[in-house]
Symmetry: C2
Subunit: 309 residues, 2 copies
Amino acid sequence: LAQHFSTRRRPSGVKLSIGDDAAILSPNRQNWVWTVDACVEGVHFDWNWLGAEDVGWRSYQAAVSDIAAMGAKPVAALSSLALPADADTALWRGLARGQARAARALGCPIIGGNLSRAKQVSIHTTVLGSSEHPLRRSGAKPGDEIWLVGNIGLATAGLAVLQQVPEARRSAAMLACVRAWRRPKALVEEGLKLCHRAHAAIDVSDGVAGDMRHLSESSQVSVVLFEDELRQAILPKLTKVAAAMGHPLLDWVLFGGEDYALLAAGPTDSRPAFARRIGCVERGKNVWLELAGGERQIIGAAFDHFRPK
Amino acid sequence: LAQHFSTRRRPSGVKLSIGDDAAILSPNRQNWVWTVDACVEGVHFDWNWLGAEDVGWRSYQAAVSDIAAMGAKPVAALSSLALPADADTALWRGLARGQARAARALGCPIIGGNLSRAKQVSIHTTVLGSSEHPLRRSGAKPGDEIWLVGNIGLATAGLAVLQQVPEARRSAAMLACVRAWRRPKALVEEGLKLCHRAHAAIDVSDGVAGDMRHLSESSQVSVVLFEDELRQAILPKLTKVAAAMGHPLLDWVLFGGEDYALLAAGPTDSRPAFARRIGCVERGKNVWLELAGGERQIIGAAFDHFRPK
């Protein structure tokens, strides 16, 4: 493990990294935020559409995204890898390289882990982060705005491109979507900046509708998303791809995950420049989509006409 | 996850448990020790010999044992479970119950985790512990004694009993070995007491020979195990089982793992009452077995006559 995940300097706050029974952390007086995320072959990814390094990269960014959504700074991670006995050395190296590159890009070193055999490739990544004031899902208040940080829909569109569009016919916009799906980035800096501005936050891993439902339930509030503001938040390249593929645009935006954008709830006068308003928080329950005409629908079963056939 | 791993009171030092993107820890000024351990169906366990609750229990104790071997107090854990789509509810509940019971027995709550699908059942458990002065593998010094804390050989003998002895013919001693294999216990209290007495420690998961090799390499010393002291450390019930099964006794002791005993290196006058001397540390390298007659052998290839045929 050590040879693949080594870092030149020992990260500050880490007293002992790979090579013993456990890693040692020497924290200060801050809160430590800690998550674990799994990425399983055939369940979370398919080798038809991803290389080993992509899988390593994505799994790491997905795990760190949970830390970003807490408004915390990722400090270190452990990686538990399971690989088939007959797996290629190239596969294992690719996974480790993808994770190590993501770790460097995020300034969050892998300080330990575990290797085992299994029928399928799987990566369980656990990440610790520190935060003075962690952002939970449960703090949204009636009167708050819903903020979108980062882009949504691109990753799911990218997967659709890989599955449905022959390589020779992929436009530049389509390739950008593929890239967004293969190489997502956890929004750590943005999460940290949300910390003293937002009341609640979550990362988009299950799609805006699903993750807003989590926030609505945790905060015991109603979330209303505005169709026109959502549409304004969509990048022109996504609009192009949806048109070229004949796919309903809002479907990718509302139900597609894996972009690892952040959604937050906070008061109007605290909204940072990098956040876009896409909705508001009210008393009540459920997640609603307010259509351009003013009509409201509960997102979920009532929204099935947006779902792909 | 929350419903299976809930604890009545929020553990001290834990600000937020299951239900958000990550768990929040509020530590004091201590070192945090952090490990991850995997337990995979068909690789680390076999349903022929273990129930779901046993698997949950063992996986948790194995992970915490790494913390015990650091001389640290386990504080909390996250559990990442992967299960086949067609897995029985009873299976999933059994695993969670086994983990939750081990967590209670060890005073180390599960504060988060992840659930995913996979072809095989697997459990990746990550544990954080705190320690003022963590015990590494690398501190052994020439002149130290090698200490054994807990029992060795029982667990491997227990597995051999399950595989080779029909149920009706299992003696009380054999059943004790089976129980040792199914329900190991991480030696947390003992590990904590070793903290200011030992120079180095490791838990026995790969067998004494293998784990002493890790310690010898990390500390850059030679480890000499004394056959007569090892034999004195063997419980009478293990001797009985070995005799009944016609198995070379020292084989289970030297090469069998999964008892989660602790091995430590420290000076004679620091040895606690619960630790037994089984060897010594010298300048040099390799792990040696000093036979009762005084002759020394490198353990490993040179020791093959003790291995089962």
